[in-house]
């Protein structure tokens, strides 16, 4: 950690917060605090400078216009790139995931991404809306991904990144792989409060940010019930 407390930056909530994206910030803060870590939460609007010295940066979902504007401002600001160079954790969701790559499509044109991860996104033939599930890259050591997706993009991974998961339900990047990660940067199409349904993913980000490999376990009864209920619902929908 950079300071006494864990510093979490929620990037541009005025532009990139469409689907309960606040949830990811709340969940990370709660899980850190329950382990006795003080948390400093910063909501940085798009007309403010992005501090480069935080531990975790959260980038949420958004529609085309705000996504394009968010990418422009992040490129001009440079703070996120400095943070990544210093080893900060970045978690991008949906539009916030796409803009970590080299390019994405918004409002019918190709927009420059932040080039922090080796992938590019374009438009798919259909909009992907519904439950998203996948088996996570075993190197990350966390159980299956559970989420909800709502996007029109398709993402093509380059050799410099690994997929977050292999899709078992839904579309994700392209119907086969879902999300991407490299180092301490991770993105997913599981939108909104993705960490609500994936507490182990939240803990992975906390481990990356703190360097603590063994975090004390928490009572995840409700999240576990939610995950197993969603898994059953996905399986039932697949049989129907």
């Amino acid at each position: 950690m950079s300071t006494e407390s864990l510093r979490i930056v929620w990037v541009y909530p005025d532009l990139l917060s469409t689907y309960g994206d606040r949830g990811n910030a709340l969940i990370l803060a709660r899980r850190a605090q329950l382990r006795g870590m003080p948390v400093e939460m910063l909501e940085v609007r798009s007309d403010q400078r992005l501090p480069a010295a935080a531990d975790i940066y959260l980038i949420g979902g958004g529609e085309d216009g705000p996504q394009a504007l968010g990418a422009q401002r992040l490129l001009a600001d440079g703070g996120l790139h400095r943070a990544v160079a210093q080893g900060s954790v970045v978690f991008g969701v949906c539009a916030g995931y796409q803009l970590l790559g080299t390019s994405f499509f918004a409002k019918g044109t190709r927009c420059a991404g932040l080039e922090l991860l080796d992938f590019s996104s374009d438009r798919g033939p259909t909009r992907a809306v519904g439950e998203l599930a996948g088996e996570v890259d075993p190197r990350l050591g966390i159980p299956h991904l559970s989420g909800f997706e709502n996007h029109g993009g398709r993402t093509h991974l380059g050799p410099g990144v690994s997929p977050l998961a292999r899709v078992t339900a839904g579309v994700g990047n392209d119907g086969t792989t879902e999300g991407a990660w490299r180092g301490k940067l991770l993105g997913t199409y599981s939108h909104g409060p993705a960490l609500a349904r994936n507490p182990d993913l939240a803990d992975l980000l906390l481990r990356w940010a703190t360097g603590i490999h063994q975090l004390p376990p928490l009572d995840d009864t409700w999240a576990d019930r939610l995950r197993s209920e969603r898994r059953s619902a996905v399986a039932a929908a697949a049989r129907a």
């Binding site: 469409t18 609007r45 709502n150 349904r197």
Partner: protein
């Protein structure tokens, strides 16, 4: 009315009556659906000769429609789609069923406003608010505001009654006048109904700059868009009208949000020539609205039903609810939207300190949310279990759409 429309209208009424008699619903959609199949212009034909008000927005449509119907009722009989069937099939059914009336007040789903403006040629339209709602299938807020704006440009003569507190509504109600095209700015009467929810209007729909707020005012930091001076406002437990006269409002509906709805109803009725002093007493006759706010006694508990469908309406529901045991029920079926992400847009902390019970298809999503919010709760599987779990006295029930209907069914479809 042309013969085809007459036949369609009669068949529509019969189908609605059959649907009700067969216990298949309240007949508010099926009749209109059949009628429109026979005569696609049936809604226009049924609208002709009536002075009509439309009521649209994300939240408060059904209640404001009911209050406006009561207020306009000072003048004569009013047709209305009172049960929330707010698409053209519902409007067609309601007008066919009511027969000939001089007035109609119609609740309109915000996605259908342009189409219904076209079909009904209303005298007035009330624009309540726009906020995020069922994003897995609904249009985003800025796009909805754009659709409303484009529709109003095509209907420059309709009298607009709009919420000065919602930047998206103000922008939609103020389309640019283009004299070269013969466009005149619409006649707008502004009301202030307050707005607890701000998270969909931080970015100016006109120029993309940040919108600032202070002391009830709001303004864009990059262009002239700002809060217009409202002619109708809520003050204390009453409404100030454009002449400066204050009218005490005694509603049987809870919450400051319903005082705002009452102000809106009086403002719309005034567009038809109703004096507020003649209408206020009629507002107090509205007790519950399609089950919303209904109170039912069950095993010594007084159960009150509150509907909350999206983040903005949850905030209002917490304000309306008494500090009493509270049952929350969440589903995510088609009419609710399949995505429960919005639960994290709602701050449930106002419930801390109350006995909280949760149920519904998606109770576990709610459980995770409340856990993160630090609000203790208990999960119950049935409505009866909830009733047994609380002491005698008030039980507040806050539920989203189909969860609300499920509980209403438990209570014999209370209206």
């Amino acid at each position: 009315m042309p013969m085809r429309a007459k036949v369609a209208s009669s068949v529509s009424r019969t189908a609605a009556a059959l649907s009700r008699a067969a216990g298949r619903g309240d007949g508010s959609v099926i009749g209109g659906w059949i009628g429109l199949k026979i005569d696609p212009d049936l809604l226009a034909h049924l609208s002709a000769g009536r002075a009509i008000a439309l009521v649209s927005g994300t939240n408060g449509k059904t209640t404001t429609t009911r209050l406006t119907t009561a207020a306009v009722g000072v003048l004569g009989r009013v047709a209305s789609n009172a049960f929330g069937a707010n698409m053209p099939t519902g409007h067609t059914s309601a007008l066919a069923k009511a027969g000939s009336t001089p007035y109609a007040v119609l609740e309109v789903d915000e996605h259908y406003l342009a189409q219904v403006l076209e079909a009904t040629e209303p005298h007035a339209v009330a624009l309540l608010n726009l906020s995020r709602d069922q994003l897995d299938r609904a249009k985003e807020v800025a796009m909805m505001a754009q659709l409303w704006r484009a529709a109003l440009v095509r209907h420059p003569r309709v009298r607009v009654v709009a919420n000065a507190d919602d930047p998206m509504v103000v922008w939609a109600a103020s389309p640019p006048a283009d004299p070269a095209q013969g466009h005149v700015p619409p006649h707008v009467t502004w009301f202030s109904a307050g707005q607890r929810w701000h998270d969909d209007s931080w970015v100016c729909p006109e120029c993309g700059s940040t919108i600032q707020r202070s002391g009830g005012q709001w303004w864009c930091t990059g262009c002239p868009l700002r809060r217009p001076e409202p002619q109708w406002t809520v003050e204390d437990d009453g409404v100030l009208d454009p002449t400066g006269a204050w009218h005490k409002i005694q509603l049987q509906l809870p919450g400051t949000v319903n005082l705002g709805n009452a102000a809106t109803a009086l403002a719309v009725a005034a567009e038809f020539g109703v004096r507020p002093v003649d209408a206020v007493s009629r507002l107090g006759t509205v007790t519950s609205v399609a089950g919303r706010y209904a109170q039912v006694d069950r095993d010594g508990r007084n159960v009150r039903l509150l509907l909350a469908k999206n983040p903005a309406s949850w905030l209002e529901a917490f304000d309306m609810a008494d500090v009493a045991p509270t049952l929350l029920s969440i589903n995510a079926r088609d009419p609710d939207g399949l995505d429960t992400s919005w639960l994290f847009d709602v701050d449930f902390s106002p419930l801390a300190g109350r006995q909280v019970l949760i149920t519904g298809d998606r109770a576990y999503d709610l459980a995770v949310r409340l856990d993160v919010n630090g609000v203790p709760f208990r999960h119950v599987r049935t409505f009866d279990e909830a009733v047994r779990a609380v002491p005698p006295g008030r039980l507040e029930v806050i539920a989203n759409y189909t969860a609300f209907q499920d509980i209403r069914a438990e209570l014999d479809r209370v209206n």
